[in-house]
Symmetry: C2
Subunit: 210 residues, 2 copies
Amino acid sequence: MKYAKIPAATITRLSMYSRVLERIAEEDVKIISSERLATLCEVNSAQIRKDLSYFGEFGVRGVGYYVKELLFEIKRILGLNREWRMGIVGVGNLGLALLSHENFVKQGYVFVAAFDNDPQKIAKKLPNGLVIHHINDLPWVAKNTGVEVGVIATPAIWAQDIANRLIKSNIRAILNFAPTQIHVPDGFQVENVDFTVKLDNLAYHLSPKS
Amino acid sequence: MKYAKIPAATITRLSMYSRVLERIAEEDVKIISSERLATLCEVNSAQIRKDLSYFGEFGVRGVGYYVKELLFEIKRILGLNREWRMGIVGVGNLGLALLSHENFVKQGYVFVAAFDNDPQKIAKKLPNGLVIHHINDLPWVAKNTGVEVGVIATPAIWAQDIANRLIKSNIRAILNFAPTQIHVPDGFQVENVDFTVKLDNLAYHLSPKS
DNA sequence: ACTAATATGTGTTTTCTTTCACAACTTTAA
DNA sequence: TTAAAGTTGTGAAAGAAAACACATATTAGT
Protein backbone atom coordinates (compact mmCIF):
# COMPACT_ATOMS: atom_id res chain seq x y z
CA MET A 1 0.00 0.00 0.00
CA LYS A 2 3.00 2.22 0.30
CA TYR A 3 2.33 4.54 -2.61
CA ALA A 4 -1.38 5.26 -2.25
CA LYS A 5 -2.66 8.72 -1.47
CA ILE A 6 -2.65 9.18 2.28
CA PRO A 7 -5.75 10.69 3.92
CA ALA A 8 -5.15 13.87 5.88
CA ALA A 9 -6.99 12.31 8.80
CA THR A 10 -4.39 9.55 8.88
CA ILE A 11 -1.66 12.04 9.69
CA THR A 12 -3.69 13.56 12.50
CA ARG A 13 -4.34 10.10 13.91
CA LEU A 14 -0.66 9.16 13.72
CA SER A 15 -0.04 12.18 15.87
CA MET A 16 -2.59 10.91 18.36
CA TYR A 17 -1.15 7.41 18.32
CA SER A 18 2.30 8.77 19.07
CA ARG A 19 0.93 10.74 22.00
CA VAL A 20 -0.71 7.65 23.46
CA LEU A 21 2.28 5.45 22.75
CA GLU A 22 4.51 7.89 24.57
CA ARG A 23 2.37 7.54 27.65
CA ILE A 24 2.25 3.79 27.26
CA ALA A 25 6.01 3.61 26.89
CA GLU A 26 6.47 5.56 30.10
CA GLU A 27 4.40 2.93 31.84
CA ASP A 28 6.93 0.41 30.61
CA VAL A 29 4.50 -1.50 28.44
CA LYS A 30 6.55 -3.35 25.83
CA ILE A 31 3.92 -4.62 23.42
CA ILE A 32 0.52 -3.36 22.40
CA SER A 33 -2.15 -4.70 20.08
CA SER A 34 -4.02 -2.53 17.60
CA GLU A 35 -7.15 -3.48 19.53
CA ARG A 36 -5.82 -2.07 22.78
CA LEU A 37 -4.38 1.04 21.17
CA ALA A 38 -7.69 1.53 19.38
CA THR A 39 -9.57 1.49 22.67
CA LEU A 40 -7.23 4.09 24.14
CA CYS A 41 -7.62 6.30 21.08
CA GLU A 42 -11.33 5.63 20.66
CA VAL A 43 -10.96 4.51 17.07
CA ASN A 44 -11.45 1.26 15.18
CA SER A 45 -8.52 -1.16 15.32
CA ALA A 46 -8.64 -1.73 11.57
CA GLN A 47 -8.26 1.99 11.20
CA ILE A 48 -4.98 1.91 13.04
CA ARG A 49 -3.65 -0.99 11.03
CA LYS A 50 -4.74 0.66 7.78
CA ASP A 51 -3.16 3.95 8.78
CA LEU A 52 0.12 2.23 9.47
CA SER A 53 -0.07 0.12 6.33
CA TYR A 54 0.31 3.24 4.21
CA PHE A 55 3.86 3.46 5.44
CA GLY A 56 4.97 -0.13 5.91
CA GLU A 57 4.60 -3.12 8.20
CA PHE A 58 5.47 -2.36 11.78
CA GLY A 59 3.79 -5.16 13.71
CA VAL A 60 4.20 -8.86 14.24
CA ARG A 61 1.24 -11.08 13.44
CA GLY A 62 -0.05 -12.97 16.42
CA VAL A 63 1.92 -10.64 18.68
CA GLY A 64 1.20 -6.96 18.22
CA TYR A 65 3.45 -3.93 18.04
CA TYR A 66 6.60 -3.27 20.01
CA VAL A 67 5.70 0.02 21.64
CA LYS A 68 9.07 1.74 21.40
CA GLU A 69 9.65 0.59 17.87
CA LEU A 70 6.23 1.71 16.69
CA LEU A 71 6.64 5.05 18.41
CA PHE A 72 9.99 5.53 16.75
CA GLU A 73 8.56 4.70 13.34
CA ILE A 74 5.56 6.99 13.71
CA LYS A 75 7.80 9.84 14.78
CA ARG A 76 10.02 9.18 11.81
CA ILE A 77 7.02 9.18 9.48
CA LEU A 78 5.80 12.49 10.88
CA GLY A 79 9.25 14.02 10.62
CA LEU A 80 9.71 14.28 14.36
CA ASN A 81 13.12 12.67 14.42
CA ARG A 82 14.65 16.10 14.42
CA GLU A 83 14.13 19.56 15.89
CA TRP A 84 11.84 22.11 14.26
CA ARG A 85 12.64 25.80 14.61
CA MET A 86 9.76 28.17 15.16
CA GLY A 87 9.39 31.93 15.07
CA ILE A 88 6.46 33.58 16.78
CA VAL A 89 4.82 36.80 15.70
CA GLY A 90 2.80 38.59 18.35
CA VAL A 91 4.01 38.53 21.92
CA GLY A 92 0.76 39.28 23.71
CA ASN A 93 -0.89 37.12 26.35
CA LEU A 94 -1.30 34.19 24.02
CA GLY A 95 2.14 34.58 22.50
CA LEU A 96 3.76 34.56 25.91
CA ALA A 97 1.80 31.50 26.94
CA LEU A 98 2.92 29.69 23.81
CA LEU A 99 6.54 30.73 24.31
CA SER A 100 6.56 29.14 27.73
CA HIS A 101 4.53 26.09 26.76
CA GLU A 102 6.79 23.21 27.69
CA ASN A 103 5.02 20.69 25.52
CA PHE A 104 6.51 22.18 22.40
CA VAL A 105 10.05 21.54 23.49
CA LYS A 106 9.18 18.05 24.66
CA GLN A 107 8.00 17.26 21.13
CA GLY A 108 11.00 18.84 19.46
CA TYR A 109 9.51 22.21 18.59
CA VAL A 110 11.71 25.12 19.64
CA PHE A 111 11.14 28.84 19.46
CA VAL A 112 14.19 30.54 18.01
CA ALA A 113 12.76 34.00 17.36
CA ALA A 114 9.99 36.33 18.51
CA PHE A 115 8.51 39.38 16.82
CA ASP A 116 6.10 42.15 17.65
CA ASN A 117 5.26 45.64 16.40
CA ASP A 118 4.81 47.31 19.78
CA PRO A 119 7.79 49.64 20.35
CA GLN A 120 7.43 49.03 24.10
CA LYS A 121 8.24 45.39 23.59
CA ILE A 122 11.07 45.54 21.07
CA ALA A 123 14.45 44.48 22.48
CA LYS A 124 12.84 43.15 25.65
CA LYS A 125 14.18 39.83 26.81
CA LEU A 126 11.80 36.92 27.24
CA PRO A 127 11.88 34.36 30.07
CA ASN A 128 13.38 31.82 27.70
CA GLY A 129 16.20 34.16 26.75
CA LEU A 130 14.92 35.29 23.36
CA VAL A 131 14.85 38.95 22.48
CA ILE A 132 11.77 40.45 20.86
CA HIS A 133 12.49 41.79 17.41
CA HIS A 134 10.52 44.26 15.39
CA ILE A 135 8.39 42.56 12.81
CA ASN A 136 10.17 44.54 10.10
CA ASP A 137 13.33 42.66 10.97
CA LEU A 138 11.69 39.35 10.21
CA PRO A 139 13.56 38.71 6.94
CA TRP A 140 17.08 38.76 8.34
CA VAL A 141 16.28 37.45 11.82
CA ALA A 142 14.33 34.54 10.41
CA LYS A 143 17.18 33.74 8.08
CA ASN A 144 19.84 33.99 10.79
CA THR A 145 17.93 31.89 13.28
CA GLY A 146 16.71 29.38 10.73
CA VAL A 147 12.98 29.73 11.31
CA GLU A 148 11.07 26.94 9.58
CA VAL A 149 7.63 27.37 11.11
CA GLY A 150 5.92 30.70 11.66
CA VAL A 151 3.46 31.01 14.53
CA ILE A 152 0.92 33.80 14.23
CA ALA A 153 -0.44 35.02 17.56
CA THR A 154 -1.60 38.47 16.53
CA PRO A 155 -5.08 39.96 16.27
CA ALA A 156 -7.01 38.69 13.27
CA ILE A 157 -6.61 41.90 11.29
CA TRP A 158 -2.85 41.46 11.00
CA ALA A 159 -2.82 37.75 10.34
CA GLN A 160 -2.87 37.79 6.55
CA ASP A 161 -0.24 40.52 6.38
CA ILE A 162 2.02 38.57 8.71
CA ALA A 163 1.42 35.43 6.67
CA ASN A 164 2.46 37.29 3.53
CA ARG A 165 5.68 38.38 5.20
CA LEU A 166 6.41 34.86 6.39
CA ILE A 167 5.82 33.60 2.89
CA LYS A 168 8.13 36.24 1.47
CA SER A 169 10.80 34.97 3.85
CA ASN A 170 10.14 31.53 2.45
CA ILE A 171 8.87 30.12 5.72
CA ARG A 172 6.84 27.25 4.38
CA ALA A 173 4.69 26.35 7.37
CA ILE A 174 2.36 28.55 9.41
CA LEU A 175 0.55 27.80 12.63
CA ASN A 176 -2.20 30.39 12.85
CA PHE A 177 -3.84 31.23 16.16
CA ALA A 178 -5.73 34.25 14.82
CA PRO A 179 -9.41 33.50 14.34
CA THR A 180 -9.40 34.13 10.63
CA GLN A 181 -8.82 32.27 7.41
CA ILE A 182 -5.35 32.71 5.94
CA HIS A 183 -4.62 32.26 2.27
CA VAL A 184 -1.26 30.96 1.09
CA PRO A 185 0.15 29.90 -2.28
CA ASP A 186 0.74 26.31 -3.28
CA GLY A 187 3.64 24.68 -1.51
CA PHE A 188 2.99 26.55 1.72
CA GLN A 189 1.16 24.96 4.66
CA VAL A 190 -1.22 26.56 7.14
CA GLU A 191 -2.80 25.00 10.17
CA ASN A 192 -5.40 26.94 12.04
CA VAL A 193 -5.89 26.70 15.79
CA ASP A 194 -9.21 28.40 16.24
CA PHE A 195 -10.63 28.08 19.75
CA THR A 196 -13.98 29.56 18.87
CA VAL A 197 -14.58 27.07 16.08
CA LYS A 198 -14.28 24.35 18.71
CA LEU A 199 -16.57 26.22 21.05
CA ASP A 200 -19.08 26.66 18.24
CA ASN A 201 -19.07 22.90 17.81
CA LEU A 202 -19.77 22.44 21.49
CA ALA A 203 -22.50 25.07 21.43
CA TYR A 204 -24.15 23.36 18.48
CA HIS A 205 -24.17 19.99 20.20
CA LEU A 206 -25.46 21.46 23.44
CA SER A 207 -28.26 23.35 21.77
CA PRO A 208 -31.64 21.69 21.56
CA LYS A 209 -32.56 20.82 17.98
CA SER A 210 -36.01 21.90 16.94
CA MET B 1 -33.30 17.76 3.48
CA LYS B 2 -34.02 19.00 6.94
CA TYR B 3 -33.93 15.70 8.79
CA ALA B 4 -30.89 14.00 7.34
CA LYS B 5 -27.84 13.23 9.44
CA ILE B 6 -25.59 16.24 9.43
CA PRO B 7 -21.85 15.75 8.82
CA ALA B 8 -19.59 16.96 11.58
CA ALA B 9 -17.57 18.83 8.99
CA THR B 10 -20.66 20.82 8.11
CA ILE B 11 -20.81 22.30 11.59
CA THR B 12 -17.18 23.30 11.46
CA ARG B 13 -17.73 24.94 8.11
CA LEU B 14 -20.78 26.83 9.33
CA SER B 15 -18.52 28.24 11.97
CA MET B 16 -16.10 29.36 9.28
CA TYR B 17 -18.89 30.84 7.16
CA SER B 18 -20.10 32.87 10.11
CA ARG B 19 -16.62 34.22 10.71
CA VAL B 20 -16.31 35.32 7.09
CA LEU B 21 -19.84 36.71 6.97
CA GLU B 22 -19.12 38.79 10.04
CA ARG B 23 -16.20 40.38 8.25
CA ILE B 24 -18.25 40.84 5.11
CA ALA B 25 -21.09 42.43 7.07
CA GLU B 26 -18.68 44.92 8.61
CA GLU B 27 -17.70 45.94 5.10
CA ASP B 28 -21.36 46.75 4.53
CA VAL B 29 -21.84 44.14 1.83
CA LYS B 30 -25.58 43.39 1.69
CA ILE B 31 -25.75 40.35 -0.56
CA ILE B 32 -23.35 37.53 -1.29
CA SER B 33 -23.49 34.55 -3.64
CA SER B 34 -22.44 31.08 -2.62
CA GLU B 35 -19.78 31.37 -5.30
CA ARG B 36 -18.22 34.44 -3.74
CA LEU B 37 -18.45 33.07 -0.21
CA ALA B 38 -16.92 29.84 -1.44
CA THR B 39 -13.92 31.68 -2.82
CA LEU B 40 -13.38 33.47 0.48
CA CYS B 41 -13.63 30.20 2.39
CA GLU B 42 -11.68 28.16 -0.14
CA VAL B 43 -14.42 25.59 -0.52
CA ASN B 44 -16.75 24.51 -3.30
CA SER B 45 -19.90 26.61 -3.70
CA ALA B 46 -22.12 23.53 -3.87
CA GLN B 47 -20.66 22.58 -0.52
CA ILE B 48 -21.95 25.76 1.02
CA ARG B 49 -25.40 25.39 -0.47
CA LYS B 50 -25.57 21.77 0.62
CA ASP B 51 -24.40 22.61 4.13
CA LEU B 52 -27.13 25.21 4.45
CA SER B 53 -29.75 22.96 2.90
CA TYR B 54 -29.54 20.65 5.90
CA PHE B 55 -31.17 23.39 7.93
CA GLY B 56 -33.51 25.15 5.50
CA GLU B 57 -33.55 27.57 2.59
CA PHE B 58 -31.85 30.83 3.36
CA GLY B 59 -31.10 32.26 -0.07
CA VAL B 60 -33.01 33.74 -2.97
CA ARG B 61 -32.60 32.10 -6.34
CA GLY B 62 -31.13 34.37 -8.95
CA VAL B 63 -30.01 36.73 -6.18
CA GLY B 64 -27.89 35.17 -3.47
CA TYR B 65 -27.95 35.44 0.30
CA TYR B 66 -28.67 38.51 2.37
CA VAL B 67 -25.51 38.69 4.45
CA LYS B 68 -27.04 39.75 7.74
CA GLU B 69 -29.91 37.35 7.48
CA LEU B 70 -27.66 34.42 6.64
CA LEU B 71 -25.30 35.31 9.44
CA PHE B 72 -28.21 35.47 11.85
CA GLU B 73 -29.50 32.08 10.72
CA ILE B 74 -26.11 30.39 10.94
CA LYS B 75 -25.60 31.74 14.43
CA ARG B 76 -29.01 30.51 15.41
CA ILE B 77 -28.24 27.06 13.98
CA LEU B 78 -24.99 26.90 15.92
CA GLY B 79 -26.71 28.04 19.10
CA LEU B 80 -24.87 31.36 19.20
CA ASN B 81 -27.97 33.46 19.69
CA ARG B 82 -27.27 33.45 23.39
CA GLU B 83 -24.41 33.65 25.85
CA TRP B 84 -22.45 30.57 26.90
CA ARG B 85 -20.98 30.43 30.36
CA MET B 86 -17.53 28.92 30.74
CA GLY B 87 -15.46 27.83 33.69
CA ILE B 88 -11.71 27.43 33.33
CA VAL B 89 -9.59 24.98 35.26
CA GLY B 90 -5.89 25.77 35.39
CA VAL B 91 -4.81 29.40 35.68
CA GLY B 92 -1.27 29.11 34.37
CA ASN B 93 0.19 30.96 31.43
CA LEU B 94 -2.24 29.47 28.98
CA GLY B 95 -5.22 29.82 31.30
CA LEU B 96 -4.47 33.50 31.83
CA ALA B 97 -4.12 34.06 28.12
CA LEU B 98 -7.47 32.42 27.50
CA LEU B 99 -9.14 34.40 30.27
CA SER B 100 -8.11 37.64 28.62
CA HIS B 101 -8.78 36.51 25.07
CA GLU B 102 -11.26 39.05 23.79
CA ASN B 103 -12.47 36.92 20.93
CA PHE B 104 -14.42 34.72 23.27
CA VAL B 105 -16.55 37.54 24.56
CA LYS B 106 -17.10 38.87 21.07
CA GLN B 107 -18.58 35.50 20.10
CA GLY B 108 -20.73 35.23 23.19
CA TYR B 109 -18.49 33.02 25.30
CA VAL B 110 -17.97 34.34 28.81
CA PHE B 111 -15.81 33.06 31.63
CA VAL B 112 -17.81 32.99 34.84
CA ALA B 113 -15.50 30.95 37.04
CA ALA B 114 -11.82 30.02 37.38
CA PHE B 115 -10.20 27.17 39.29
CA ASP B 116 -6.73 26.05 40.23
CA ASN B 117 -5.12 23.79 42.81
CA ASP B 118 -2.15 26.01 43.64
CA PRO B 119 -2.70 27.44 47.17
CA GLN B 120 -0.74 30.53 46.11
CA LYS B 121 -3.38 31.34 43.54
CA ILE B 122 -6.59 30.61 45.42
CA ALA B 123 -8.66 33.72 46.24
CA LYS B 124 -6.51 35.88 43.96
CA LYS B 125 -8.46 38.25 41.79
CA LEU B 126 -8.05 38.09 38.04
CA PRO B 127 -7.86 41.08 35.66
CA ASN B 128 -11.42 40.42 34.56
CA GLY B 129 -12.68 40.49 38.13
CA LEU B 130 -13.08 36.76 38.69
CA VAL B 131 -11.68 35.16 41.81
CA ILE B 132 -9.71 31.93 41.56
CA HIS B 133 -11.40 29.08 43.40
CA HIS B 134 -9.91 25.86 44.60
CA ILE B 135 -10.71 23.03 42.27
CA ASN B 136 -12.38 21.21 45.16
CA ASP B 137 -15.00 23.94 45.20
CA LEU B 138 -15.94 23.23 41.61
CA PRO B 139 -19.29 21.58 42.41
CA TRP B 140 -20.90 24.48 44.20
CA VAL B 141 -19.13 27.29 42.34
CA ALA B 142 -20.05 25.80 39.00
CA LYS B 143 -23.63 25.46 40.09
CA ASN B 144 -23.84 29.00 41.47
CA THR B 145 -22.25 30.61 38.44
CA GLY B 146 -24.03 28.41 35.91
CA VAL B 147 -21.02 26.96 34.15
CA GLU B 148 -22.05 25.17 30.96
CA VAL B 149 -18.68 24.66 29.32
CA GLY B 150 -15.54 23.51 31.13
CA VAL B 151 -12.18 24.62 29.78
CA ILE B 152 -9.22 22.49 30.77
CA ALA B 153 -5.90 24.31 30.75
CA THR B 154 -3.95 22.10 33.11
CA PRO B 155 -0.98 19.81 32.52
CA ALA B 156 -1.94 16.62 30.69
CA ILE B 157 -1.67 14.45 33.80
CA TRP B 158 -4.60 16.19 35.47
CA ALA B 159 -6.81 16.48 32.45
CA GLN B 160 -8.82 13.28 32.83
CA ASP B 161 -9.32 13.82 36.54
CA ILE B 162 -10.58 17.34 35.91
CA ALA B 163 -12.83 16.05 33.15
CA ASN B 164 -14.30 13.53 35.56
CA ARG B 165 -15.04 16.28 38.06
CA LEU B 166 -16.66 18.43 35.38
CA ILE B 167 -18.77 15.48 34.34
CA LYS B 168 -19.79 14.85 37.93
CA SER B 169 -20.96 18.46 38.08
CA ASN B 170 -22.96 17.72 34.96
CA ILE B 171 -21.05 20.17 32.80
CA ARG B 172 -21.82 18.68 29.43
CA ALA B 173 -19.19 20.31 27.24
CA ILE B 174 -15.43 20.36 27.62
CA LEU B 175 -12.83 22.31 25.71
CA ASN B 176 -9.56 20.56 26.38
CA PHE B 177 -6.23 22.30 25.88
CA ALA B 178 -4.18 19.57 27.52
CA PRO B 179 -2.30 17.49 24.97
CA THR B 180 -3.99 14.25 25.85
CA GLN B 181 -7.06 12.27 24.92
CA ILE B 182 -9.99 12.69 27.29
CA HIS B 183 -12.70 10.08 27.66
CA VAL B 184 -16.28 11.07 28.49
CA PRO B 185 -19.56 9.17 28.69
CA ASP B 186 -22.31 9.45 26.09
CA GLY B 187 -24.11 12.73 26.12
CA PHE B 188 -20.98 14.69 27.02
CA GLN B 189 -18.96 16.59 24.43
CA VAL B 190 -15.21 17.12 24.25
CA GLU B 191 -13.29 19.22 21.79
CA ASN B 192 -9.53 19.06 21.84
CA VAL B 193 -7.31 21.98 21.01
CA ASP B 194 -3.95 20.34 20.61
CA PHE B 195 -1.29 22.63 19.23
CA THR B 196 1.28 19.91 18.74
CA VAL B 197 -1.07 17.83 16.61
CA LYS B 198 -1.23 20.77 14.24
CA LEU B 199 2.53 21.16 14.33
CA ASP B 200 2.92 17.46 13.62
CA ASN B 201 0.82 17.96 10.52
CA LEU B 202 3.06 20.77 9.41
CA ALA B 203 6.18 18.76 10.14
CA TYR B 204 4.86 15.87 8.11
CA HIS B 205 4.13 18.04 5.11
CA LEU B 206 7.49 19.77 5.34
CA SER B 207 9.42 16.55 5.59
CA PRO B 208 10.79 15.03 2.41
CA LYS B 209 9.03 11.77 1.53
CA SER B 210 11.32 8.92 0.66
C1' DA C 1 3.86 -32.06 15.44
C1' DC C 2 -0.41 -30.37 16.02
C1' DT C 3 -4.02 -27.40 17.88
C1' DA C 4 -5.94 -23.35 19.88
C1' DA C 5 -5.59 -18.66 20.68
C1' DT C 6 -4.15 -14.35 19.20
C1' DA C 7 -3.16 -10.52 16.13
C1' DT C 8 -1.52 -8.32 11.80
C1' DG C 9 -2.09 -6.67 6.91
C1' DT C 10 -5.14 -5.86 3.30
C1' DG C 11 -8.78 -6.78 -0.55
C1' DT C 12 -13.52 -5.91 -0.46
C1' DT C 13 -17.61 -3.75 1.12
C1' DT C 14 -19.99 -0.24 3.27
C1' DT C 15 -20.65 4.26 4.73
C1' DC C 16 -19.96 8.98 4.55
C1' DT C 17 -18.79 13.42 2.00
C1' DT C 18 -18.19 16.14 -1.74
C1' DT C 19 -19.06 17.60 -6.28
C1' DC C 20 -21.76 17.81 -10.44
C1' DA C 21 -25.38 19.33 -13.10
C1' DC C 22 -29.74 21.01 -13.85
C1' DA C 23 -34.65 22.41 -12.79
C1' DA C 24 -36.62 26.22 -10.48
C1' DC C 25 -36.72 30.78 -9.49
C1' DT C 26 -35.45 36.13 -9.70
C1' DT C 27 -34.04 40.19 -11.89
C1' DT C 28 -33.12 43.27 -15.64
C1' DA C 29 -33.81 45.07 -19.96
C1' DA C 30 -35.89 45.53 -24.32
C1' DT D 1 -44.08 39.71 -22.45
C1' DT D 2 -40.33 37.64 -23.47
C1' DA D 3 -35.57 36.66 -23.30
C1' DA D 4 -31.15 36.52 -21.17
C1' DA D 5 -28.27 36.28 -17.27
C1' DG D 6 -27.59 34.96 -12.80
C1' DT D 7 -28.12 32.04 -8.62
C1' DT D 8 -30.22 28.75 -5.43
C1' DG D 9 -31.57 24.04 -3.85
C1' DT D 10 -31.04 19.29 -4.49
C1' DG D 11 -31.12 14.43 -6.68
C1' DA D 12 -27.69 11.74 -8.58
C1' DA D 13 -22.88 10.54 -9.41
C1' DA D 14 -18.33 10.38 -7.98
C1' DG D 15 -14.92 10.15 -4.69
C1' DA D 16 -12.89 9.41 -0.17
C1' DA D 17 -12.67 7.27 4.19
C1' DA D 18 -13.81 3.79 7.46
C1' DA D 19 -15.02 -0.80 8.71
C1' DC D 20 -15.41 -5.63 7.77
C1' DA D 21 -13.66 -10.07 7.41
C1' DC D 22 -10.38 -13.30 6.46
C1' DA D 23 -5.84 -15.25 4.85
C1' DT D 24 -1.54 -15.18 6.99
C1' DA D 25 1.60 -15.39 10.69
C1' DT D 26 3.17 -16.20 15.69
C1' DT D 27 3.08 -18.23 20.17
C1' DA D 28 2.02 -21.48 23.78
C1' DG D 29 0.61 -25.71 25.36
C1' DT D 30 0.27 -30.63 24.99
